[in-house]
């Protein structure tokens, strides 16, 4: 315990250096801006800024991305409450009661409750992240290749169930991502695979142009076909921001419940911040003594989900730091960044790079505090960003993507990849395919292949030896239950699990 406290203090001493404070501030501001802007989410922003983080050290890059991720959760709620426009998917639920509160003249209270809830959730989830990640990393040091393979398979299987679109579409995307990951020189034999004589492909398909294409360019193309909302922006005065004593009393329990719930859901693969908000909203409505107020401006409907989405962010960092396996698309980008900085994420990371881990943890505290202090007084400034015309914003994003990709390797092939994957991302999303599993599989594909081949070597090709180990068996059982339980439940007519009603599914059925 004393060791943890000392490490955390050391983390604070690093995170409080002017340079890292600057990165945290930039991340928080950028995150809030992308959270406010509909269409461009934290994932797109992280993908667009990926190339620029190569100019920073790994710790600086992690601090910047943590700020963006948290900031987007804060920013998304602002437009949900004031304009009924969710800045990103995790803020959709906040629109329901947040906007109704604004209509009743309680916008300021909703914004404050949302910001304070996010801060409390951020703090709780960081504490959880510290405890769980350290504990899990210690256990994971005893894991062998079969365990890592089983965890990777379990993560991807859960992602298939929880992604938008049908499970078949999500599975195809995962296989596509794994197929892309096999391009390049085989790490064990040195034999070129799928390079077709193109020398530059020997190093494999770069993660950077694929991520920036699929989340940056595709997002721009997607936004072009959407109608532009020109809203008159409602001003909120500082006086309005203070909730009443009764509003505070009604908000704190949902904030704490949402924080715990969000952190736990954050550990599950898939779009955890989005799922966390829905689960929190439903549970708050069930627990409420006045459920009829939900949908008409119940403050619990803002406090719970807003805390849940922020806590899920902290939860999502656990598998990344403890196991080196990203369970969400945003964490795949973070993992890609670590790899671009020459770091090998995994259970050893906390031990070998304690400065990075503790500085990021400390910067999360600082970033959350910055967001709380910045967001409320500057709410009108952030909302006015919506006034920037889209026809100016979109070309700027495309240029950032183009120049960003070019600056890394000065490679024309990378630029072509950016364009090709931009179109692929746009086309696939247009027909209901979830693109996030593709990126996730592409990032963890090499790890899965390595661990599978090592496992087969160790066990002499005996699959039973790979499966019948305590952790592996648990993981494969989870996979089995995830896929068998929903059809069984449907067969007996008891309902269905979430994740079956995405847009792709709607298009097909």
């Amino acid at each position: 315990m004393l060791e943890i406290a000392q490490s955390l203090l050391h983390g604070f001493s690093l995170a409080l250096t002017p340079l890292y404070l600057y990165y945290a501030l930039i991340g928080a501001i950028l995150g809030t801006i992308v959270g406010v802007l509909p269409g461009l989410g934290p994932l797109g922003a992280m993908a667009i800024l990926l190339s620029f983080t190569l100019k920073l050290d790994a710790t600086g890059a992690m601090i910047l991305f943590a700020g963006i991720y948290y900031g987007a959760m804060y920013g998304g709620s602002t437009t949900s409450i004031l304009l009924n426009i969710p800045g990103e998917a995790a803020s959709v639920v906040t629109c329901i009661d947040g906007y109704q509160m604004a209509q009743k003249g309680r916008a300021g209270a909703a914004l404050t409750v949302s910001a304070v809830g996010s801060f409390i959730a951020g703090t709780i989830s960081i504490l959880g992240l510290m405890g769980v990640a350290l504990f899990l990393a210690d256990i994971a040091l005893r894991f062998g290749p079969p365990e890592f393979f089983a965890i990777g398979v379990c993560g991807l299987a859960l992602l298939v169930r929880l992604s938008e679109g049908s499970p078949l579409q999500a599975f195809i995307m995962i296989l596509l991502g794994m197929a892309l990951a096999t391009v390049g020189v085989d790490f064990l034999t040195g034999i070129e695979r799928f390079t077709f004589g193109i020398h530059e492909l020997g190093q494999g398909i770069d993660f950077l142009p694929v991520a920036m294409g699929i989340f940056g360019i595709a997002e721009v193309l997607n936004t072009v076909e959407q109608r532009e909302f020109i809203q008159s922006v409602r001003k909120v005065s500082l006086k309005e921001l203070l909730p009443t004593r009764q509003e505070w009393r009604r908000s704190f329990p949902p904030m704490f419940r949402g924080s715990v719930l969000g952190f736990i859901i954050g550990l599950v693969p898939g779009p955890s911040p989005v799922i966390a908000t829905f689960v929190s909203y439903i549970s708050e409505k069930r627990l409420s003594s006045t459920p009829e107020e939900f949908g008409k401006g119940a403050i619990e409907g803002v406090a719970g989900p807003e805390a849940a989405n922020n806590a899920a962010v902290g939860g999502a960092y656990v598998p990344l730091f403890a196991l080196g396996i990203p369970f969400t698309p945003a964490m795949a980008i973070v993992l890609g960044t670590l790899m671009l900085h020459g770091l090998t994420p995994g259970p050893n990371l906390i031990k070998t790079k304690p400065d990075l881990f503790w500085a990021v943890i400390a910067s999360m505290y600082i970033g959350n505090f910055m967001l709380l202090v910045l967001n409320l007084p500057l709410v009108n400034v952030f909302v006015s960003i919506l006034k920037v015309p889209r026809n100016i914003l979109l070309p700027i994003i495309v240029l950032i993507c183009l120049i960003g990709v070019y600056t890394v390797n000065s490679s024309s092939l990378d630029l072509l990849m950016l364009a090709v994957f931009g179109y692929i991302g746009y086309a696939l999303r247009g027909v209901g395919f979830p693109v996030a599993p593709l990126i996730l599989a592409m990032v963890i594909g090499p790890m899965l292949e390595t661990s599978l081949r090592q496992s087969l070597n160790i066990t002499g090709g005996n699959l039973a030896d790979m499966i019948f180990r305590p952790i592996c068996l648990t993981m494969y059982s989870i996979v089995g239950v995830t896929f068998i339980l929903p059809p069984v439940l449907r067969f007996f007519g008891r309902g269905h699990l979430p994740g079956r009603s995405g847009p792709g599914k709607n298009r097909l059925e």
Partner: protein, 165 residues
Amino acid sequence: MGIHVSKNQKITAFLLFGFSLFYFFSSLRLKLGTFKNPGPGLIPLGIGVLLLLCTGFYLARVLRAGPPGKKKQEQGPRGEKNYLAIFGILGCTLAYPFLLEYGKFIVSTFAVAYVMLVLLKPSRTLFSFFLALGMAVGSFLIFSLLLGVALPSGFLENLLFRIGG
């Protein structure tokens, strides 16, 4: 209730199946090894088989389905698509690497930015011209002078370097 799919879904299903076939047959050319000692082609072959099965099943499902409902055909939920802007932006990203080779940074960035601005707001061509120029020069100053990135340089870039010191 029958399944309804659009033409785009059918095209996507065919392309995915085509890619799967290509990947599967390409993986067969790699050394497979044994289960005990897997070669570089074993995992790609496994991925290829699964891809082929899944995309084949998806294709069959899409081909069996009927055309989209009347309501869906008439108007999408997002309204009229600006295909010119979509394909224009895509064309710009595809053309940029080639432009960069011949036109160097400022000219190619200006050209791409100008085309995108005009496609998104055709009524303001003069404004777009100056905005694109500002974007090209501004990005050169930020990336080259401030961040020290080596960008393709010609006469204009060298001139800016001299002015910027």
